[in-house]
């Protein structure tokens, strides 16, 4: 039974219900509309868009903006580095953090509680931006792809949610494998990890989205631009006006057809198209994965 049915129905209650539903519809509109407007902008002719009043539907429909940005070299490189860091970052973190969680969940192991405490500590204190930067500089991690994934292979948060899940499993199977002489690595990969699929899925989604969305570490550690990701490209188009001119120049060397295409594109529509390229994968994927996220933060909150 719904809770509201316990109470006698009143006129004011009904008014509130209507008000609440209307409010939710308005809120939903505000959550969705900004993305819709950018989509409309990105599908509209650039010169025409400058006339303004572009709200719900493209006025002069075109795919030129997308066609054009995918012809620029910067875009394809950025797409490559974004995908590379999502894949490498997520896989390495799951394997390594999962194994760390396993080490902390083997109850007879002398260090298990210590390891857990050591990593929990990293969630609360840290050296901060500059000491980390100077140390990475000394290690030679600046201007490398490694800096995207190596500092993240072990995550205290991941360890906590996977560890909490492993604590809930019965260790009799692992113990019998151990008596049969199986090595710990084998037990982790063959026995324990397969039982933890749901929590791995949750962490995988969170890590992948985090990698896809991160830009500050790109700017900080790979300032030269050799490893720019999509987010960084969008940031450059947003902040540095010369970045767009640079991208435009790429194609002016091309055929007359491409030059004609570039002439119809403006900063506004180009940025909208880039925003969409960055956003669409997330929008397509998140409704299916949000339940894993929800599970993840609930476990994290209980343990934290």
């Amino acid at each position: 039974m719904v809770r509201q049915d316990l109470v006698k129905k009143t006129a004011s209650g009904k008014v509130f219900d209507v008000f609440n539903v209307v409010l939710m519809i308005i809120l939903s509109f505000f959550f969705i509309y900004p993305f819709w407007q950018q989509l409309v902008m990105s599908l509209n002719d650039g010169i025409d868009a400058q006339r303004g009043n572009l709200y719900f539907w493209p006025r002069v429909f075109t795919l030129n903006n997308y066609d054009y940005i995918f012809k620029t070299k910067g875009m394809l490189d950025a797409l490559f580095w974004s995908l590379a860091r999502v894949i490498v970052g997520t896989v390495t973190q799951l394997v390594c953090t999962g194994f760390l969680a396993y080490l902390t969940s083997v109850k007879f192991f002398t260090l298990h509680a210590w390891l857990r405490k050591m990593f929990v500590l990293t969630m609360y204190i840290g050296g901060g931006m500059i000491p980390v930067y100077l140390w990475f500089q000394q290690l030679g991690l600046l201007e490398s792809f490694t800096v995207y994934w190596l500092p993240g292979v072990l995550s205290a948060y991941g360890m906590m949610i996977i560890g909490a899940y492993m604590d809930g499993l019965s260790d009799s199977i692992a113990e019998s494998a151990r008596i049969d002489g199986a090595r710990e690595v084998t037990i982790y990969f063959r026995v324990v990890a397969p039982m933890c699929k749901p929590v791995f899925a949750a962490l995988a989604v969170m890590t992948a989205v985090g990698h896809w969305n991160s830009w500050f570490d790109v700017m900080l550690y790979n300032a030269s631009g050799s490893y720019d990701t999509l987010q960084m490209l969008l940031r450059d188009i947003l902040i540095e006006s010369n970045k767009l001119a640079e991208l435009m120049k790429d194609s002016t060397a091309g055929s007359d057809a491409v030059k004609g295409q570039a002439a119809r594109i403006t900063t506004q529509t180009m940025r909208a198209a880039t925003t969409m390229v960055v956003t669409v994968p997330i929008v397509c994927v998140y409704p299916f994965f949000q339940k894993y996220f929800v599970k993840g933060i609930s476990i994290g909150a209980v343990k934290g």
């Binding site: 509201q4 316990l6 006698k8 609440n20 939710m24 809120l27 959550f31 969705i32 900004p34 993305f35 407007q37 950018q38 400058q50 303004g52 709200y55 194994f99 760390l100 080490l103 007879f108 192991f109 002398t110 390891l115 050591m118 990293t122 609360y124 204190i125 840290g126 050296g127 901060g128 931006m129 500059i130 930067y133 140390w135 072990l154 090595r183 710990e184 690595v185 896809w212 969305n213 991160s214 830009w215 500050f216 900080l220 987010q231 960084m232 969008l234 940031r235 947003l238 506004q268 940025r271 925003t275 960055v278 956003t279 997330i282 929008v283 998140y286 409704p287 929800v294 933060i297 609930s298």
Partner: protein
């Protein structure tokens, strides 16, 4: 314990047996500990640079030790009062409006009767959380420019005489920032409250109905008191982060002309430590921020313990 009465040789052999059983686990732990030392301990040790006058490429010798000079230097900087003000205002807005908004939204979600409708609205409200701050900044830039949607609508409604480029006007920065932060995070922040509400015993409401509570009465006397521990917990955690607020948006949307309104401690540390190369000074400022944040968590925690009997640790 048995070990004490046994002979030394036995203890040793038992220890050895135990180690033998665990040796593979020890072996793998070495890697975890090595990672911990490299990526946590060494940078943590790096905060000691704040007591030196560090010059890149030169060894850190004791004659470069300057006590608290780098810390004191911050307060002599012309920008210091502005940076502190902006951090406190933005953090304060986040901990007041930004903190209450998700609680209200969660309570409103809870009043929806149709489960399906609730599910859809909740899912929609999570959307902005999943996109990056770069995307949010890009959308804001598009909406708030002088040719943007906001100006167009306000002018056509007659609320403004001429289009305004909002992001170039300093005083608009705070309202823009807090609106964007709430828009991005509100749906997601309701999750913990919703799971707390889901955990409330249904019998409480039935008993409340017998006692003649109306719908508002149930919210006031049952729902809110039941989720109070969650609220306090999140408040304490939020207090610890109050000084860490919003450097991403500030770096993305802040313009040199509006710096007086958006420069916060984190962006200041970035500017001095990375762009201007004053590492020791920047580390000192960052360290002060972290220490104050830690102190605030402990203070809030003990206050919460005293007045409500609730605490984080």
């Amino acid at each position: 314990m048995k070990g004490k009465s046994a002979s030394g040789g036995n203890v040793l052999s038992r220890r050895f047996n135990r180690f033998n059983k665990e040796k593979e686990l020890w072996f793998w732990s070495i890697f975890a500990i090595a990672w911990w030392v490299v990526f946590f301990l060494v940078p943590l040790y790096g905060v000691t640079y704040s007591f030196f006058n560090y010059v890149p490429g030169r060894p850190l010798t004791w004659d470069r030790f300057v006590w608290f000079d780098n810390f004191a230097a911050f307060f002599q900087m012309r920008e210091a009062p502005l940076v502190i003000r902006n951090t406190l205002v933005i953090g304060g807005l986040n901990m007041t409006i930004g903190f209450i908004a998700p609680i209200i939204l969660a309570l409103l979600f809870d009043e929806l009767k149709s489960m399906k409708f609730k599910k859809v609205v909740q899912t929609v409200s999570y959307l902005p959380y999943f996109v990056s701050w770069v995307v949010v900044a890009s959308i804001l830039n598009s909406f708030l420019s002088s040719e943007g949607v906001i100006s167009e609508v306000l002018v056509s409604l007659g609320l403004m005489d001429k289009p305004v480029s909002f992001l170039t006007v300093g005083p608009y920065f705070w309202p823009v920032l807090i609106t964007a932060s709430i828009w991005k995070g509100i749906g997601w922040s309701t999750i913990l409250y919703m799971s707390a509400i889901a955990g409330i015993d249904q019998e409480l409401y039935e008993a409340g109905a017998v006692d003649g509570l109306g719908r508002w009465g149930m919210v006031k006397y049952i729902t809110i008191p039941s989720i109070l521990p969650t609220i306090v917990l999140l408040f304490i955690m939020g207090i610890g982060n109050i000084l860490n607020t919003g450097y991403e948006v500030n770096l993305l949307l802040g313009q040199p002309t509006t710096r007086d309104y958006w420069e916060v401690i984190d962006t200041y540390v970035y500017r001095y430590g990375i762009q201007l190369g004053r590492q020791s000074f920047a580390i000192a400022v960052g360290l002060m921020k972290s220490v104050i944040g830690l102190i605030m968590v402990f203070v809030t925690n003990s206050v919460a313990k005293k007045i409500a009997g609730l605490r984080l640790f």
